[in-house]
Symmetry: C2
Subunit: 109 residues, 2 copies
DNA sequence: AAATATATCTTGCAATACAAGATAGTGGTG
DNA sequence: CACCACTATCTTGTATTGCAAGATATATTT
């Protein structure tokens, strides 16, 4: 215990989906965007495998484009399935966070 | 993805600590209490190993007491270290949930 | 005796965040 | 040209943790 890393499990993918929904974006830029929302920086070992996994699951689609500086960028966008998954995530997150707050504030149901 | 199980990682222990802080309680009862806050029921394979782990880390202490019906109950209470960890968890949770909501509602910082 | 409810523990599995390292292209500096 | 820095992605291996399944033990009820 005692670090944030375990708490990210299962919520990071939902956050990525939510950002990708705003428009095509590639991994490197995504990492920066996450920080702008308050996350402390992620390593590539976290983000790239997650994106590949989501692509394999058909939640996002990817197209390669030339970069002005560096190797090709892999732009991701949301599939229909991905939108559904995002909706589902938002519900699960709302439910979970409400429940945790119930526990912390001792509000029974 | 697509289930709640991964999202519980790293927050379940904080929830247990929060409930134990309210007063001595044993595992079996804890499971029921969690449900009263809105969690869907946990298996023993989830709760007991977690309690043992927290005991080993010195976050909770345990004493055995006779039960009116069944084998001895193992009552847990919070140690000083456990109280500190609970405080730390509450901060981490507050920060994380705020950040996730930032992402979902597209509020940059 | 047998079944039921209470109560805890153990073993093994699956999912996932992350560190560390490899690879590659582009531009600038000495 | 050689070297470095920045951009950009991928791969391998590790640690943590929730959970299913099964074992064990006691008390009450049928």
């Amino acid at each position: 215990m005692a670090d944030t890393t375990q708490m990210l499990k299962g919520i990071l993918d939902g956050c990525l989906l939510s950002i990708i929904k705003d428009g095509e974006i590639y991994g490197y830029e995504l990492a920066a965007r996450l920080e702008s929302y308050g996350f402390t920086s992620f390593s590539e070992g976290t983000i790239y495998p997650l994106l590949l996994r989501m692509q394999k699951e058909g939640l996002v689609s990817a197209t390669l484009r030339k970069s002005t500086a560096g190797p090709k960028r892999k732009y991701y966008s949301l599939t229909e399935k991905g939108e559904g998954e995002l909706e589902s995530f938002i519900k699960r997150w709302g439910q979970l966070s409400a429940t945790v707050n119930n526990v912390l504030n001792k509000r029974e149901m």
